[in-house]
Symmetry: C2
Subunit: 93 residues, 2 copies
DNA sequence: ATATTTTGGTTTATAAAATAAACTTGTTTA
DNA sequence: TAAACAAGTTTATTTTATAAACCAAAATAT
C-alpha cells in the first residue's frame, strides 16, 4: 500500500491546503477563522508547509499591522493531487 | 469546517479499515502483510479500533496456533462513510 | 531429547506530532 | 499612560504513532 504523504495527512494542514486550493491567496487571520485553529498551531503548520515548499508565505506590514499571506505552490498542488489519488485507492472512491 | 474523525485519520488505521471494507473478515497475519506494519503497531491500532467499536475482533486457537480475526462493524462502516463525506468536502472531489 | 527458530502476537519505551500556553512587539483605546 | 488588542512566534505539554523488547507455544534442527 502506498503511503499517504504525512505532510498532508494532518487535520489542520489538510484543511489549510484545501482552503488554499479554492482561493489563490489567503492571509493568516482568514485561515485562522476558517480553520478555527489557535494562532500557535496555525503558525507551526504554516511553517511546515512552507519549509516543504508546498505553500509560499509573504510577510509584510500593511497599515502598521503585520500581514502574512499564503498561497499554494505548484509543488503543493501536485502533492495534494497525489495525496487524493492515494486516498481514492484506499477508499475505492 | 467539520473535523475528520481522528480515529480514522491515521495512516495505519485507515489502511486497516479500508482493507476490511473489501473483505468481510481478515486475520492479523493477512493485515500485517497487506499493511506492512509491525506487529506491535498493528496490535495497538486494532485495539483502538476495537475499543471504539469500529471493528470486532475474535481471538481463537486454530490447530494449536492463535488466530485473531477482525471485521468491520456497522458502526465502523458508518464512521468511514462519514469520514469519506467530510474528506470530499475538504477536497472538492 | 533438547536447543533453536518461528509464529502470532502483547507490552512497554521512544520518537514524532499536534496542540496549547505563554510570550513578544507594536497599536489602539480608555 | 496604563490597559487591552492584534497578529503572530516560541516554548512546553499532551497525544499519537511507531518501534523495540518481550512472551508463550509450536515447529524444526542437532
Amino acid at each position: 500500500m502506498k503511503e499517504l504523504d504525512p505532510l498532508l495527512h494532518s487535520q489542520l494542514r489538510l484543511a489549510i491546503v484545501s482552503l488554499l486550493l479554492t482561493v489563490e491567496e489567503a492571509d493568516f487571520v482568514w485561515l485562522k477563522e476558517k480553520t478555527e485553529a489557535t494562532s500557535g498551531n496555525l503558525s507551526v503548520q504554516l511553517d511546515k508547509l512552507s519549509e516543504a515548499g508546498y505553500i509560499s508565505v509573504r510577510k509584510e506590514i500593511v497599515g502598521k499591522k503585520p500581514r502574512t499571506t499564503c498561497s499554494l505552490t505548484p509543488k503543493g498542488r501536485d502533492a495534494l493531487n497525489e495525496y487524493v489519488r492515494t486516498l481514492k485507492e484506499y477508499l475505492h472512491i
